[in-house]
Structure formats: C-alpha cells, structure tokens
C-alpha cells in the first residue's frame, strides 16, 4: 500500500491514464483551445491537458450533481385493443461508479459540506447525490494560486484545507507529490510511482506549511446572519447592492455550493423521463407560481435571497455552517463585476442607517 508517491511533471499524463483504468477519473481541463480560456472538470481522456495552474471556471459540483440527469423513466403501456386503462411503469435507475476527482481545490471540496447537508442529512435523503458522493474520492491540490477574488479563509476554509479530501496533491518544482489521506485512497496509488525522495518531501512539507499559514481573503463573516436579518427589509440597501445585477445565472451556475434544481418531465408519445436540471434563484421563473404570483418578482428579492441563503438561511438551518466556500467564482464570472464580499461586508456597516 502506497501512502505517498512522486509524479514527475512529464509523467503526469501516463500516471493519470493508469489511474483511469482503476477508477472513473475526472480532471480539470481546458474547455477551449486557449490557455486562458474557460476550464472545468471533465472525464479523463488520454492526452487531455490538465489545467492545474488555476482554479477552474466551472466547479466540480457537476461530478456529483450533473447539470441535467434523469431521475425517473416512465412508460404507459397500452393493451393491443387500445384499452382506456393503460398501465404505467415507472423506474428510477441510479448508477454510481467509483470515481476520483484528481486536482480538486480545497474550496471546491469544502463546498460539498453544504451540499452534503442539503442532499444527505436532511429529513429526506437524495439518493442520486448521496450514492455518487459515497463513491467519489477527491485528490486535492494544495492551492498556491489564489487571486484577489479568493476568500476561502474568510468562510472557514483555507488554501491547504484538506477536510473532505482523500488525497493531497502538492505541486513541487518538478512534479507532484500525491499523498493518501484516507485508507480507501491508498490502493489507488499502488504501482503508480515511487515514494518521493527526501528533498522533494521536504520541499512539499515546506509548501504545505507555508500555504497553511496563508490567510486568503479578509471578509469578516462573523454575525452576518444576524446582520442580514436586520437588513432584510431595507430596500434601499438592496437597491444599492443589486442595481447592476443582470439577473443572469452565471454566479449560481459557477458556484460550487449552489444546488437549486428544477424537475421537468419530457415525453414522447407513451414514453418519457423525469429530468432534474440546475436551476437558478436569479431567474424569474424559479419561484413563479401557476397563479402568476411571484414571491421574488425582481432581481432585488432574488439577489437578496441568494445572499440570505449563503450567509443566513443555511447557517440557521445547518449548525452555523456558511453556504459559501470563498472560491470567488461568482465575482470572477459576473458580467458586471458584482462582488459578494462587498455585499456581505456592508451588511454590518451602519445597520441603523
């Protein structure tokens, strides 16, 4: 059982290829042939360039919560003589194969703590997510490429935070040191490489130590739940905060903790399926009722709800845990540069104004 191996930079692809024979492997990769273009997690294919140099545009949540998945299939069966009482068959087919996400970031893995509580620890357990979650391991990179939009340390995480990860990846000058953090992960490293030599191990340890000391982001979220409740009715505050908002769904789709979904049926003649697809609380239709009433009719209520969800409602519902992992994707991808840190930061300022 290997606990720790070294992978030279030029051997990464062959190691990944070997790994992909043991387990379904997902890696962060360029989605467009442009080194600064969008990135996301994709199933490994030989030769596919790993995008390790930065945080991915899209988070890894789709590994556990695909943008669209089939919940159920159904079929009406008719008697040959066109009987009125056609019978109905409904099945749910779930498939959760052992999966490894290689090259996750601490913030992304931390985001799963939110998803876990919602999908697996509520009064109802979502079997689709939960079964995938149980079968998925994360090899997480000690994160050295944070930028001005990252704030993981502000929301309880950190660039070297390995909570929820099964393997740790440290990028050194000439390669990667991968270390199994859990027993189940050890066998994955078998026959993949040799243990690192002492100097590399020392370098890795120094990196881990150095990164662990970093504080990424200076947002103070202490008391934000309370501050949000006080701000809730202050329309002026929210108008000021969201006037720029275009009400598009980018922030929610790139967000690793945004999990809201819709369920729709699609059928052709007698057969069909029930789909679950990502939805966004930024969309008008998200809460639109059949009567025409909409409790969150404008971007003001919708944006407020998003902030509330992450910094007030989720903490209130789930033992104080914030619904934000500080990855900064919503800031990076926002077409109008809205900064959620500002919105949350201001919550506590002059609450009485």
């Amino acid at each position: 059982m290997a606990v720790k191996i070294f992978i030279a930079t030029d051997r990464l692809d062959s190691v990944l290829e070997k790994l992909s024979t043991k387990i379904d492997l997902w890696i962060p990769a360029l989605l467009k042939d442009d080194k600064s273009g969008p990135t996301g997690f994709v199933p490994y294919e030989p030769g596919k360039a790993v995008a390790f140099d930065r945080q991915t545009t899209m988070s890894l949540k789709k590994v556990l919560l695909p943008q669209v998945e089939t919940l159920l299939r159904f079929e009406y069966r008719k008697e040959p003589e066109g009987a009125i009482n056609s019978t109905l068959a409904v099945e749910d087919r779930r498939e959760a194969r052992p999966t490894l996400v290689f090259g996750a970031r601490p913030c992304d893995v931390r985001a799963l703590t939110t998803l876990d509580r919602v999908f697996s620890n509520g009064p109802y357990v979502d079997p689709y997510y939960t079964e995938r979650r149980k079968n998925t391991l994360f090899a997480t990179l000690v994160c050295r490429q944070t930028d001005a939009k990252c704030f993981c340390s502000s929301v309880g995480g950190g660039p070297a935070d390995m909570e929820g990860s099964h393997l740790r990846i440290v990028r050194t000058d000439d390669g990667y040191i991968v270390e199994a953090l859990t027993k189940e992960a050890q066998s994955l490293l078998d026959n993949l490489g040799d243990a690192p030599d002492a100097s590399r191990e020392k370098q890795a340890a120094e990196i881990v130590e150095e990164v662990s000391r970093r504080r990424v982001g200076d947002l103070d979220t202490e008391g934000s739940a309370e501050a949000f409740r006080k701000r809730f009715e202050q329309t002026d505050y929210w108008v000021q905060m969201v006037s720029q908002c275009l009400s598009c769904g980018v922030c929610t789709y790139v967000c690793p903790t945004c999990y809201c979904f819709s369920i729709t049926d699609e059928a052709e003649n007698l057969k069909g399926e029930r789909l679950r697809s990502w939805d966004s609380c930024m969309f008008y239709h998200y809460t639109l009722e059949a009567s025409g009433h909409n409790p969150r009719p404008t971007k003001l209520e919708r944006y407020r709800n998003r902030v509330g969800h992450k910094f007030s409602y989720i903490p209130e519902r789930y033992e104080g845990l914030l619904g934000c992992c500080g990855c900064g994707r919503c800031i990076r991808s926002c077409p109008v540069s809205i900064d959620i840190r500002q919105v949350v930061g201001h919550l506590k300022e002059n609450t009485n104004e």
């Binding site: 919940l71 159920l72 159904f74 009406y76 009125i84 009482n85 056609s86 019978t87 109905l88 409904v90 749910d92 779930r94 919602v118 999908f119 509520g122 009064p123 109802y124 357990v125 979502d126 079997p127 689709y128 409740r229 809730f232 009715e233 999990y259 809201c260 979904f261 819709s262 369920i263 729709t264 049926d265 699609e266 059928a267 069909g272 029930r274 939805d279 609380c281 998200y286 809460t287 639109l288 009722e289 059949a290 009567s291 009433h293 409790p295 969150r296 209520e301 709800n305 509330g308 969800h309 007030s312 409602y313 989720i314 209130e316 519902r317």
Partner: protein, 275 residues
C-alpha cells in the same frame, strides 16, 4: 415511502367530481393495496401528484385521515400540470408522493373553539381538518365556518354542506354579489367576519384563501382580538421536490414544503417578506 423520495407511488383515479368551472376534485387510491391500507397522514399534509410526461404539482390531501376509502385532492386549473389533470378520467393512472409537509396541530387544538375562514379553493385544506373534527366532534368546542366564494357557481363541496351542518358545524356561507336564488349571505369574507364577530376567547382561527382575502381576514381577526399565535394559515409556493432540497419554496430559512405549509401567524411574521 420507499428509499427514493422522488419516486412516486402509482395510483388510480377512482372518481372525478366537477366542483366549479375550473376546479375538479380527484379521488384516488394507491395501486398497492397494502400501502393504501397503511397510509397515514395528518390533516393539512400535502401530496405531489404526477402526471407523467407533464410534471408534478402539489395539492393538499383534503379528505380526512379518518376516512380512508380514497385520498381526495381538489385541483384548480391554472398551469400546465393542473390543465393536464383536468383532462384525466376515472381509471387513469397518476403518481403520488405523500404525505409531505407538516399538517395542522389538531391535537393542540383539542378543547378549543374553532373558526374556519375559507375563500374559494382555499376551502380545500380546511375541509380535511373540518371533517377530522366532525369525526372527532367531542374533542372540540364550537366550530364555526365562514366560507365565501365569488358566486355560488364558484363554491366547492356544496354537496356536503348539509353533512357539515349535521355534524355540528355553524356554517356561514357568503358570495361576493347578489345571485339569483342565493339565500345565504352576500358580502366579502372579511366583512362577514366582522359581522359574525366570533369571540377570540379560547378560539383558534384557521384561514385559507386568496392572498388578498387572507390579508384582510388577518387584519379583521386582529381587530377582533385574536393573537398572532391563535391564527393559523397554510402557505402556497411553487414547489418542485417537495422534500426541502430543491431550494425554491423558502421564506427565510423555512421551506414551505418541509416546515409548512401550515404556519401560525406569528411564525409567518418571523419569516419576513417574500410570501
């Protein structure tokens, strides 16, 4: 329920009752006879009815748990799913996920006088509790029902008003405007409420109806001296999963599908706007 809370149980429509021009009542039974026999729920809990190929929609189970021949749902034609439900016939197959939600605290109401205030289709959630109380009549004090609709043609459950009265219910009916042949009251529900002026002493008010009616009834009840915690209503929101996961039916940190749909007025006040 099975281990997949998204998987509906198959059910068959036994009977369809046309209540009004756009409201129909379905009486359905689960295809699994054992399940149907073991099926229990609290008045006020809801079910998700699936019309496969169109989708799911949430309705309160408006038959009481004390009457188990069928589960009854009243459906007003409004959106895609309800329109499709209106095309169904007895014998057709649907899916059902139930019971969901919290239901009324009928035990805590024991020994109290009860006031029901319902408007239009809003009578549906009240009916389940009302029939439950009729079936356990001795546990409750005075039961007064104020039920209003736009016109007699828009009133549901007219065929069982006599049964309600026979069950010891003070049933007060009203319509918005004069109508040929109408012998009961005329006027909006909040107005009738202030005319009837039921005493708030030891009484719990259960309100359901269109938002505008609820607004004025709440105002009226407060005028009459009802405290917030004496007033109970059920909320409606767009729902998808019905099990507190999909995220949309929240009001503050509460999910209407999971923590509701029944809330007392003081709870609603604490939840903030966005209703």
């Amino acid at each position: 329920m099975n281990n997949n809370p998204y998987l509906p149980e198959l059910a068959t429509i036994q009977e369809i009752i046309t209540e009004t021009g756009n409201i129909r009542t379905l009486r359905i039974t689960l295809n699994d006879k054992d399940r149907m026999e073991r099926f229990t729920f609290r008045p006020g809990q809801v079910g998700q009815i699936s019309v496969f190929g169109t989708g799911e929609s949430t309705f309160v189970i408006n038959s009481p748990p004390t009457r188990k021949d069928y589960l009854q749902f009243s459906v007003m034609k409004a959106g895609e799913v309800t329109s499709r439900i209106h095309q169904l016939n007895a014998g057709d197959q649907v899916g059902l996920r139930a019971p969901l939600g919290n239901g009324f605290g009928f035990d805590e109401m024991k020994g109290h006088d009860i006031l029901f205030v319902g408007g239009g289709i809003g009578m549906a959630p009240l009916r389940t509790l009302l029939l439950y109380m009729i079936d356990n009549r001795a546990d409750y004090g005075d039961i007064t029902v104020i039920y209003g609709a736009r016109s007699p043609k828009d009133m549901c459950y007219t065929y069982e008003f006599e049964e309600w009265r026979a069950g010891g219910v003070n049933l007060i009916l009203t319509v918005d405007a004069e109508f040929p042949g109408w012998k009961e009251r005329v006027g909006f529900v909040p107005t009738v409420l202030s005319e009837v002026a039921p005493s708030p002493n030891n009484r719990i008010a259960v309100v359901c109806g269109p938002p505008i009616m609820i607004k004025f009834v709440l105002f009226g009840l407060t005028e009459l001296g009802f405290e917030d915690q004496q007033i109970i209503t059920t909320l409606e929101k767009r729902m998808k999963c019905g099990i507190g996961i999909c995220g949309r039916c929240n009001a503050g940190s509460k999910y209407v599908c999971l923590d509701g749909p029944v809330f007392s007025y003081d709870q609603i006040r604490a939840m903030g706007g966005e209703l």
